[in-house]
């Protein structure tokens, strides 16, 4: 293979095995560690981690470590490639780069992940550059075939056309010659006005198999000799297995084996039913350890105490103390948000076959390379003998950024002869998740005589997911951090979790004196993790609720109050005005109803939402309508953006109204969808999404809808009832005493 440097992306070309053209290229590490879009690395050794293969029949296959969990990435990624390659979207197929194929056994660099609303942001340029490079090669191959000048040829619809004569050659007929050519130095990208695919509502490529049962998720793996296991984990975090009597379990027909782990027992069986019955028949004694009495109230007390001490400074402009001292009025509040489970529709599961010479994993994961590393560590096998067969994800939301369940499955599989599929029950999935942290925020503002905030102070207290992930990933972290930017590394060394303060440190409003701090306080033994964004899922709730409080306290309209603070942020102002206009802001609503507004700038996107709620006499909240205005820069697929907003809004309403994981006696009190309530179809609001046309760089859309809707709902509740919700979930807070 030859190595060439196109302007900002390494491309490598060569012949594919069995004929055709193969291009290898490098996608940047995409990491939820970085709220910023990653940068393309141009230095260091070239190690491609994505490939385009064009077959002799003209079919284009894009191979990359990128997973589909509903967000539409299997459609938007091929769109970016097809746009510059000049092929129909239907000609492109996306495959997980097969880890067992020697051809692709290049050392992966950095961290390959799907998360942090980064797919389009990170791959926007490299994928188009790769497509443009491939197209240039095919055009050159055609020009050479015809012995004409390259400039007299152009490509469209997978065909190269010689302009003067009208002769055509399909890509499939050109691939072998193209594979022998050198890449031209610098291939310009198309002007946005010439785009044919980007900006169009292309149909999802993964839909057909998802409506007929053919789509294969990790849990659907079938293998010869496959056994199924399910697991009982110590219900108290930090506890251990003391002893287990498995005689009754082993007597159940279909049960093969009982596996003991340090803090869990698994029953391996012929099928899930026997495994479940086996677990139910186990007589287990747990050593519950130091957290046997732990309750949510204990954790909140610890957070409250920690929040009274100064934290690491995340943002400091002006002099807050002085401005606060000179303020006409001071308003302060404490906001709290709970632990949350992910509750993906596909309970976590992982299929593993450990052999003396290697290990295979069949799993749906957002982090295939971490899965490989984790399995290598548990088995003691070299990393390159661990093969990860990645699958569709039945929901991610951050849950499948973690490898805890993969580690446990490998620990079980080490003791089992042959392949074993370890499936968590819904109860185990909810009670042994890794949770969105409980956050405890102190926020205060000093207002001048007109009610304008002249001082703003916000202290975020809670768990640092970044700190955990960073220590787990070291030394890979250095590479990730370099891609994300040195300033984040410096901030982290000082103890700042840039993710925990995202949405708090940079509110879009004019705040001349602002101080934002972060205090790290870990809950004892409760594992915490990303959850459809983390910082913004709580910070936007806090900031947007508090801005609403300031407007109410000074008798201002909440929309106009925000608007007046946005002269320096035209994109934020634009979405705010659009949402208000489309929602009919100011129009009367029925008694018991209210309208609330929110504004978000996070994940590189601007979003404003107006929610309409009605509150019954019993205090039950119904969200009837949500109007959402989005400026996410250049839009690759508008239908995907709309779908992600609908999705995020519904996900966020579930959390705002009912989502809560609580602890008693060290145990999670919730079990299943009966007590971890989520929104159902009859409860879903009408959602109207309005997109702002923009040529700015693309922003993320997977997560922000969730963050924006929570304060919109809380502010609408205030408008309807006069009650300010400072603690989520709303649950029965509005119930009459």
């Amino acid at each position: 293979m030859r190595r060439e440097l196109s302007r900002r992306t390494f491309l490598q070309t060569g012949a594919a095995v069995g004929g055709g053209l193969l291009l290898g290229f490098t996608l940047p590490p995409l990491s939820p560690l970085s709220p910023l879009p990653p940068r393309v690395q141009n230095d260091g050794p070239f190690a491609p981690n994505a490939f385009i293969r064009i077959d002799r029949d003209g079919r284009v296959t894009l191979m990359m470590h990128k997973v589909e969990m509903g967000q539409g990435t299997y459609t938007s990624m091929p769109m970016l490639l097809a746009e510059e390659l000049e092929v129909e979207l239907s000609q492109v197929r996306l495959e997980h780069a097969p880890p067992n194929d020697a051809l692709y056994a290049e050392p992966l660099f950095g961290v390959q992940e799907t998360g942090g609303s980064t797919s389009v942001r990170g791959n926007w340029e490299p994928l188009r550059r790769a497509g443009a490079g491939a197209r240039a090669l095919l055009v050159a191959a055609a020009a050479q075939t015809w012995n004409v000048d390259t400039s007299s040829c152009h490509a469209t619809g997978g065909v190269v056309i010689h302009g003067p004569t009208g002769r055509t050659l399909a890509y499939g007929a050109l691939v072998d010659r193209a594979a022998t050519l050198s890449l031209p130095g610098d291939v310009p990208l198309k002007h946005p006005k010439d785009w044919k695919l980007i900006g169009t509502p292309a149909k999802r490529l993964d839909s057909p198999d998802k409506v007929n049962g053919k789509a294969q998720y990790g849990i659907d793996v079938r293998l010869p000799g496959l056994k199924v296991a399910t697991v009982a984990v110590c219900p108290v975090f930090g506890g251990k297995l003391a002893s287990v009597d498995d005689s009754k379990a082993k007597a159940i027909p279909g049960v093969h084996q009982v596996v003991r782990l340090a803090d869990a027992v698994a029953v391996v069986a012929e099928h899930m039913w026997a495994a479940q019955q086996g677990v139910a028949a186990l007589d287990i004694r747990w050593d519950e350890g130091p957290n046997a009495q732990l309750t949510t109230a204990d954790i909140v007390r610890q957070l409250d105490a920690a929040s009274q001490k100064p934290g690491v400074v995340a943002r400091k402009d002006g002099d807050v103390a002085q401005a606060m001292a000179g303020a006409a009025r001071k308003i302060e509040a404490i906001y709290q948000v709970p632990f949350l489970a992910h509750a993906t529709m596909e309970p976590v599961n992982c299929t593993v076959h450990v052999r003396p010479d290697g290990c295979d994993l069949w799993v749906g994961t957002q982090v295939p390379t971490f899965a490989q590393t984790a399995a290598a560590k548990v088995t003691g096998l070299p990393k390159d003998s661990v093969l990860v067969h990645n699958h569709l994800l039945g929901g991610g939301f951050g849950r499948r950024l973690e490898v805890d369940f993969i580690v446990r499955a490998v620990e079980i599989a080490k003791q089992v002869a042959g392949p074993v599929k370890v499936v968590w029950t819904r109860e185990a999935d909810i009670q042994h998740d890794m949770y969105r942290p409980y956050y405890y925020d102190r926020i205060a503002a000093g207002l001048d005589e007109r009610g304008t905030p002249i001082a703003w102070s916000h202290r975020v207290t809670g768990s640092s997911i970044m700190a955990r992930v960073t220590s787990e990933l070291f030394p890979k972290t250095l590479r990730v951090m370099r891609a994300a930017g040195w300033h984040q590394l410096v901030a982290m060394v000082k103890g700042l979790d840039v993710d925990a303060v995202e949405g708090a440190a940079e509110p879009p409003y004019a705040l001349p004196n602002i101080r934002v701090e972060y205090v790290r306080q870990e809950p004892p033994s409760i594992p915490t993790a990303f959850w459809r964004g983390v910082g913004p899922t709580h910070n936007i709730f806090v900031v947007e609720s508090f801005i609403d409080e300031l407007a109410a306290a000074t008798q201002h309209d909440p929309f106009q109050y925000r608007r007046a603070l946005l002269d320096q942020s035209p994109r934020a102002k634009g979405v705010l005005e659009l949402a208000a206009l489309q929602a009919g802001w100011g129009r009367a609503l029925a008694p018991g109803s209210g309208r609330g507004i929110s504004l978000l700038h996070a994940f590189g996107s601007y979003i404003a939402q107006v929610a309409e709620v009605s509150v019954s006499k019993q205090g039950d909240v119904r969200v009837g309508r949500v109007v959402c205005a989005v400026d996410c820069g250049t839009i690759v697929n508008p239908d995907t953006v709309k779908a992600q907003m609908e999705s995020g809004i519904i996900f966020g309403i579930s959390a705002a109204l009912w989502g809560e994981i609580t602890l008693k006696n060290g145990r999670v009190e919730q079990h299943n969808f009966n007590d971890y309530r989520v929104l159902r179809l009859p409860e879903a609001p009408v959602i109207e999404v309005h997109l702002v046309q923009s040529t700015a760089a693309p922003g993320g859309v997977g997560e922000p809808g969730t963050s924006a809707v929570m304060p919109a709902v809380a502010n609408a509740i205030f408008a309807a009832t006069g009650k300010r919700v400072r603690k989520l979930p709303v649950k029965d807070q509005l119930r009459p005493a």
């Binding site: 529709m345 596909e346 929901g395 179809l681």
Partner: protein, 150 residues
Amino acid sequence: MVTLKINGTAHTVDVPTDMPLLWVLRDVIGLTGTKFGCGMALCGACTVHLDGRPVRSCVTPVAAATAKQITTIEAIGETPGGRKAQQAWLDLDVVQCGYCQSGQIMSAAALLATKPHPTDADIDAALGGNICRCGTYPRIRAAIKHAAGD
């Protein structure tokens, strides 16, 4: 031994009679389109049809299905209601992660078979038991109306 008629084909399987139909379909017969979501009839991911009526297979003992025609997502496209629902799902790009959609389509197909022009209240009643964490509800409602030609 239990004999089941699934998607028009008879399958004889050696399973306990109280085993939920879900696990017989998935782990014994290998029809994995029917999904496990909660195990307690709370989420609807495991919905199949018994003689055309939707049931939650995670709480349906196999003994209750022996004398019935069992239809799963793999064959629902062969029924008029199922075909319409699947096409509407494609036309409106309903799916996201897709995991719950087998169950959603099975509920929608059963609804369309009995009520070719369902009202919003009919849709609420028929689909209210099917959870989707990706929040495809607005599109599911729209797709059912689209399938009905309303």
